[in-house]
Structure formats: structure tokens, C-alpha cells
Symmetry: C2
Subunit: 575 residues, 2 copies
Amino acid sequence: MIARSFPARIALVSRIKGRGRSFFSPTQFPQLLLGAALLAAPAHADSLIDNVDGLTLTKSGKVERFTGMVVDKDGRVAKLLQRGDKRPDRGLDFRYDGKGRVLMPGLIDAHGHVMELGFKAMSLDLTAAKSLDEAKAMLAAYAKANPDRPWIVGAGWNQEQWGLGRFPTAADIDAIVPNKPVWLVRVDGHAGWANSVAMKAAGVSAATPSPSGGRIEKTATGQPAGVFVDAARQLIEKVVPAPQPRERDIALSKAQAILLGYGITGIADMGTSVEDWNVYRRAGDAGVLKVRIISYAMGLEPALAVAGAGPTPWLYDDRLRMVGIKLYADGALGSRGAWLKQPYADAPKESGLGFMDDAKIRNLMVRAAMDKFQVAVHAIGDRANAQVLSAIEEVAPSYRDDRRWRIEHAQIVDPADIARFGKFGIVASMQPTHQTSDRLMAEARLGPNRLAGAYAWESIRKTGAHLAFGSDTPVESPNPFPGMAAAISREDAQGQPFGGWQPQERVSREVALAGFTTEAAYAGQAEDRIGMLQPGLRADFVIVDTDPLESAPAQLRATKVLETWIGGQRAYVAK
Amino acid sequence: MIARSFPARIALVSRIKGRGRSFFSPTQFPQLLLGAALLAAPAHADSLIDNVDGLTLTKSGKVERFTGMVVDKDGRVAKLLQRGDKRPDRGLDFRYDGKGRVLMPGLIDAHGHVMELGFKAMSLDLTAAKSLDEAKAMLAAYAKANPDRPWIVGAGWNQEQWGLGRFPTAADIDAIVPNKPVWLVRVDGHAGWANSVAMKAAGVSAATPSPSGGRIEKTATGQPAGVFVDAARQLIEKVVPAPQPRERDIALSKAQAILLGYGITGIADMGTSVEDWNVYRRAGDAGVLKVRIISYAMGLEPALAVAGAGPTPWLYDDRLRMVGIKLYADGALGSRGAWLKQPYADAPKESGLGFMDDAKIRNLMVRAAMDKFQVAVHAIGDRANAQVLSAIEEVAPSYRDDRRWRIEHAQIVDPADIARFGKFGIVASMQPTHQTSDRLMAEARLGPNRLAGAYAWESIRKTGAHLAFGSDTPVESPNPFPGMAAAISREDAQGQPFGGWQPQERVSREVALAGFTTEAAYAGQAEDRIGMLQPGLRADFVIVDTDPLESAPAQLRATKVLETWIGGQRAYVAK
């Protein structure tokens, strides 16, 4: 199970960012730019949302139930109403009948990649292909649906699932798309599959040597066969055009549509480039930024370039803020890039790689903190988590005000280090669906005796750390309901393993909900405006078909979002 | 007279942009960030500006006089009042007594470089030094005033004025500043003067060869002497650190303070980088963007990156918009980079250089126009102007709506081409002070028989072209009053030549005023919101000590701005 590897994501990110030309045609999807705007209800003064089965967490962490809610003209909750409470009878501009359905706070994804979600939606997704023929059929359909696209770019193929006994070849694609370049990244990001036009565009021939750290698959006659492994990927990727600004705008529009459909009203964007930021601003300036984006710059440089000497203010009625920076302490487990204290169980000579030495990570954290940028550090392996914890312990005492040091993923933690999460207000930003997707792979990588601190949600929470939940979309689906279901059950969509994997790490329904609402808001320094339905906070809520606090994991996982409202405005209605 | 050469400006721009470290200390000038905000009067509802000697141009181009003005709560002019008109007696929140002083529309500079103005103000200016000793004294004073600055960077020296008979040396600086790097660019931008620490930082030694197209001045013993000519400049400049975001913010603050002091309430920023744009946005987000910036991106790339598929909306209550792109057809006259139809009179083998062939300039214009970006093309020489005119003639018919093709400078135009300005709504964006500063140089470059189309304001205006005026700051002072004085007199500050140089090209006082108000607004697609004091437009005005329509050139040149108001808020008061 290596689909979610760090290199795969980086391969995706590097493919779609930063270069000058475009693999998308500029004429695609113009209607999407206006989609979100058209869905929104007209602005109104005070509104009454009534006849709902409402629930929210409160500042004290308790569950509050209600049947009605007054929303003021600025889109903030004015009042929650109980069944017997008198409804306001004047000053109302809009009255909404919830017909008794469940209303809950808008979900906040504490860790996602907004633009990558949009780009993934725009490119060819082969993950569902169970055979080469299926992959070819999907390619043919995509090519037909996107005739103006100068390049076809996709990802997700896995020839191991195809019973093929070999890598696919350029000729396999040429049979479907002979006249424009095609580039398809393998599910793990470690290889790419090109057609002949793409290889020609890249100037790759029989004479091209495999680069150090990479391999060009060859045919019996010595010609490049079409698959480029590891460092050889770059031979093709360097000529895949970067998206144009218009396409970036479309990608954001697509990402927003997907997020709204899953009830996501806010998301921490974990690694915002200057280009990404410009897309968010364009949407904000045009009034089509709906989902609230809590932005963490992709390192210090874009943070300084965009935000200057400190986080930006909240912009566009609390829809956008660059609050901090994202750093990487290590890679991922699937590709054995996660940095472990002991060697990998399935690769005894490897223990992954730390991306920065202790001094460097500390210095970067200090540099960011000096200007009050929040710091979020990716740490998957136990060695990386220990490194980041040590860095926080060293740096935090110099910043006595509330800094909310974030550790992203905190996936494999040495049990001896777990208690360290409880100090300095550390936020553990974790992704419940990674546990259900990765558990077999984690067992293979770590062996049976080193799993006590793996995806250890409840143990970390009990230390007093803040536990925020996210999806890591597009690595996983951004749908938060499978995340909540995994959080309370540690069972996957098939109910496996029955009773849950390491079930002592299950969390309560309330903690799962908090992870995707109040704690995700806290993690993003936004708890004073979003995350719960309480007077003065933004009226971000969803109408769903399931009560998340009173349903079995399978029901919770299958929750359907019927409507999504942001700032008291309806932004999505299920068809 | 080569101080205003294009290479000099580019040298300045390239020195201060785009690299990773900083020559300014981050702790300088914190107070400046708040300066403009503190000066502003508190927000109020309707205001009455009364008892003024008011003047403005109107939509019909006439002069309107008034004695009072009602400003609404959004900072727009509600009504102009004549002497006998009844003043409103209710709904007023603020009443201002102008004490009979002259009130005129805020000035708009149709061509400037906002960030460069700020950076110039932050660096050492040696233009006033009349001897090496004076230069050393200025350096000593600057070093003392800026102790935290890791590099000292400056410009403006001219050893020809110093009676020195030699270039200055590194030792001359070492005697004043021995312990930190110093880099001082010559007045023409063609040479730089370093001290020993700077040369060491750059790794320059006796063994360093002069690069192609450049020369390292050497001592008698073969050591680098301190002066680096032309391409050799880069040896030092590559290690001069780029400003940090905080310093960029300070530079904008300084630029705004300077502009407000001269009554400039709006400026076309001719060549905005993505970094510049982020500075403007930070100021806008923080509420400290006062001067209205009409931004032309430095080429297509930043326009697409920032604005995407078309100009941005007006942001921050009409204080910022990226409306178009800036292109360069040629260089400048001083350095003989201006592209001429015939060879230079003082260099018969040279006729300058076109930066783009005809197809390329057309293609760029079409690409920009496709997305409704306005196009502003720098053209100094008659050959460059002819090229741009031809490109407009070829491209414009495809865009029948109002595109306002701009030619920046339009400095030397073949008389045979002047009539071509009258078609397609072309805007000639010209800088009157360039004429008074450059006339002797222009005479040398062109000879006596090719001056008929030089700085030909009135001839161009009479074709029906729009004539917008600017300063090209920081190449010239941004003070618009010497510009207006030059426009009506074609005499310099000493009244030379008496009666004006090529006096047939003088314009009327009304045309001069229009150039810096209504026509500058039109040139920036902003005439529906700024440029005149008329109901519905922004109340941007200045209180001055001279009536610009009733004063002699010398008086007009010496006009003192007493107060500057933007959007009905006072942003500057003279001390």
C-alpha cells in the first residue's frame, strides 16, 4: 500500500506547479468559474433557520442541541433557539424550514491541498482501472471529453493489479492517443508512463541514458518502452506544461465544488505557493471564494513574499488568511521515506531520511515564529516526530504567547514520546483515513512490535494535546464522514478489522466531531470565528441525513450532505 | 546628460529586486509603516469642504470654479457649491474651512515607478555631491544614520563634476566605511564603486578578469581599484542582497509619503513585479494604502500570475488595480539605446536597438489584449515609436472596444508619424520634465534638424490623441508642478531657454492640468472615479498655495502643497 507516499504527492505537486506552459487548454470549464456564485442564495438581513435537529459543540467542549438559529446580516450566528423558544417575528428577511433534518457545524479539514485537489479533478484518474483494457478505455473517454487539451496528464495506474506481468508501454497509449502527448504517473508516484509523442517532445530516444537514480524501461530492440522510473521521470516531466492562470482558477473552482459537496466549509491548505495564493486572491476579489482557506505557505519564502512581516489579516469576510508555514521533517511510510528510530522491518538497511538537521529545523521555526507565523511540520516517522518535538521544546519557551505548534500527520510516534505532545499547546494534526488505508502497509514497514504509537489518536489526545483531524486530500478523499467513522471505529469501509485496528486508539464521537470542527478551527487560529455554531461565530453549517453523534460507523461513513451553508449563505444543495 | 538612461534605471531596478538577501536591516523605520494611517482624519459621514478657491476640469474639458464641496460618507464628491449656494445644515459630520486657499483635484502621475521611488529614498543619494569630499561626508552621515544596515547601497556620483581627474577608489570609501560592504552606482548607471569589503564579499581579486563588455578598474599594482564599468558591475551586484519583504513595505511607505507631499493622489506604476504587487496588497489589507496605484505589470508573466485571465477589479475602494502590462520597444536616448530611424548625430555608426521584432511586439500586444489587459509600450526613439504605431494600427482594428493603447514617453517622433497618434484612441504618456532635463543631450544625440518631433506635446495633442503627463519618478522628481511649468513654458528651472525650447510645443495651462488629472485618469481607465472633482467621483484633492491656471511658470513650478486629501480623508498636511 504505497499509493499515499510523500514522493507521489510531491511528484504530483511538482508536475502541476511552477513551469511556464500548460497541459490544459484555456477553454475548458468556463462555466465552473461562476458555479459557486450562482448557487449562493441572495444576501439578506437577519435569517431564521428553523425546524432543524441542530447540534454543535460549545466552547466548553459540550454538545448543544437546538431546533432553530438566528443568523445576522453579516452571516454570523445571533442566537440558538430551543424547541420552546419564541421565534423572532420581525426584522427577518429570510426564513428557512429545515424540515426536521440534522444541522451540524460546517466541517473543517485541518490538512488538505486545495489546488492539488482541483488539479486532480481536472486530470485523468486511473486508480479505478482493474486492467490495461480498462485503463485504455478510461484514457479514450478522457481524450474524447477533452479534445482541446494539448497534453493529457493523469495518475493512478498500477500494473500489479492488471495481471499483466509487465509494465505497460508507449505503444499501448499510442493505440488510443497517437497524436498528442500523454503522461500518466503510477499510483505510487515512482514511475510515469508516456506515449511516443510525449517521448518525442522530451527528446528521449534510444540514445538517451538512464539518469542516476532512475531507469528508462527499454524494448527488446533498445528503444525507450514508455515507462520512466524514479529519477528518469524528470526526462518527461520537464516538458509537461504548467497550468495557466485561467486553469488554476478552474482548479480552485473544482476543488471548492468538491469540498462543498462533502460539507467542508473550511480547510487548512498545507503548502500554499505564491501562485496558489494569487488564485485564492483572484477568487476572493471576484467574490467567488466560498470555502474558508487557512493557508500555510510552502516554506518560509512564499510566506515572506506574500504576507511579509507576519500573517495576513483575515480577508474576504474570514475566507482567507495566510497564518503560517509548512515544513517537512521527513517523507512518507509507503516509500520508506519516513524517518524511523529503528530500521524498516521490511528493509532492514533503511530507516528513512530526515530532511533537515536539528539546527536547521529549529532555525526555520525560530525565523518563522519571530514574525508570528504559525509553524506546521510534517512528521511521519517516530524519529522525525521526536526531532520536531525536541525542536518545539527548545524553541517554544522563547515564545510564551499562544503559538500552537503543529505536527502534521504525527503518524508513527515512539510511545516514549507521546507524553511530549501534551506540552506547549502542541496541535497533533492527524488524518483518520490514513490509518484505515495504510494499516497493512504500516504493519509491513514496522513489524508487529512497533505499532503501539501508530495513528495513536486517543493516546495523544489524552496527553492534553489538541487533536485536529483532516484528510490530506487529494491523497485521500476530502469526505470527512469516513474520517469520523474511522476515528470512532478504526475499521475500514468493509468493517475490517472487526472491532478496530489497535482499538484502544478509537476516539469518542464527540472527539471525532471536534477534530473536524472546533479543534480544526483551533489548529488554524480560527476558533474565534468558525468551528461551532455559537453567537458571534460565522454561520457555517451543513444539513445532513445522519446524526453524527448517534449513528453506527457504517451509517456515519455513508452520511450524505444535503446542503452546505457558509456565512449564512447557501453554497451547495445536493441534487 | 545621461542620468536618466534606461540602463541606469534597469540597473537600479535589477539591483533592488529579485534576489534573496537584503541590504537593508529589518529594523529600520518601523514608524513609517504607520505614518500615513496616523495622518488620516477619522472616518466621518458627509463632510463639507467650504471656503475654498476651488477649481477642477469637468467632463467636457472645461474649467469649473467653486467655493465649497460636499463629500459623502464613501469619500465621493456629492456636490460642488458656488459662492451663493446654500450650504447643507444637517447630516454633516465634519466641516472644513479652507480659509480661501486654492483647492484643486489630486494630481495623477501617469508614469512612475512606485517601489523604485521608495527604494531610492532608502538608499544613499550622491547626486548633490560636488566633490569627492562631499561624497565622503554624505557617505559618513548615511553610515552613521543607518548603523544596522548590512550593506550601504547608493547611487548618483559623477566624478566629472568633482575635478578629480580620475575615478574614485575603494580606498576612498574604506577611509569612511572600512567594515561593511558599500556599493555606489554612478549617475548614469554605467559604473559602480565598491569598497574593499564589498569586493571581498564578491570574491573579486587581482586575478579576476574583466568580463566581456565590462572593465575592472585596476591600481598601478594590478589590484581592483574599486570601480566596475558596464558588464563588470555584475561582479559586485550579484552579491548585493535583495530587500526583504519588511523593507519593501517600508519602501512603499516612503514612496507614499513622498507622493502625498507633492499632491500625488494616484499614480500609474509602470512595471509592477509580483513582489511589488504583494507589497501593495499587504498595504491594502492593512489599510495603509493611501495613494491610488494603477498597476501595469512588468510584462505579460506577472500580469497572468497576479491577475489571471484579465485585469483585476478595483480593490480597496479604488486604490489598486492591475489594469495592463508594460512592454519595452527600445532603450533611452542618453545611452543611445533609443531606436532611431537615422544614426545618432554624435555616434554616426549607431542608431540604437529595437528590443523586439515587429511580429513579437504584435504578438505580445494581441496576447495581452485577448484578456483585456491594457498595453503600455515604452518607445523613446522615432523608429521605436513608428514600430509601436504600426503594431497598434495592425492590432487595434480587431479590438473595436475601447482599449486605450498607450505609448510611454513618445519622446522622439518622426514628424511624418505624428498624425498616426490621432487614431485608435492612442494615449501618449509623456513626461514634461524629461524635456527640460534632456534638451541639450537630445540636441547632441539628434543634431539640429531632427528635433521637430521631439517632446512634441502640442503637435501630438492636436492630432486628437490623449495626452497624459507623468514624471517617470524616480528618474525625475515626482513633483508634478515643475512638470506643469515645463509643459506650459518649455523653460527649465532657470528659465532657460528664454521663451522656451521648441516653444510651439508648449501646451495651455488647462492642457497641462488635464495631463496630470483627467487625461492621466483616462489613460489608466480610471476617469469614472478619479481625475476631476465632480459628483460621484472620489474626493481626491489638494490644497495649494498657487492657482495653477493663473500663475507664471516660475510660480507654478514652486507651488507648495499644503494638504493632500484622498477619498475625502486628509492624508498629508505640510509641516
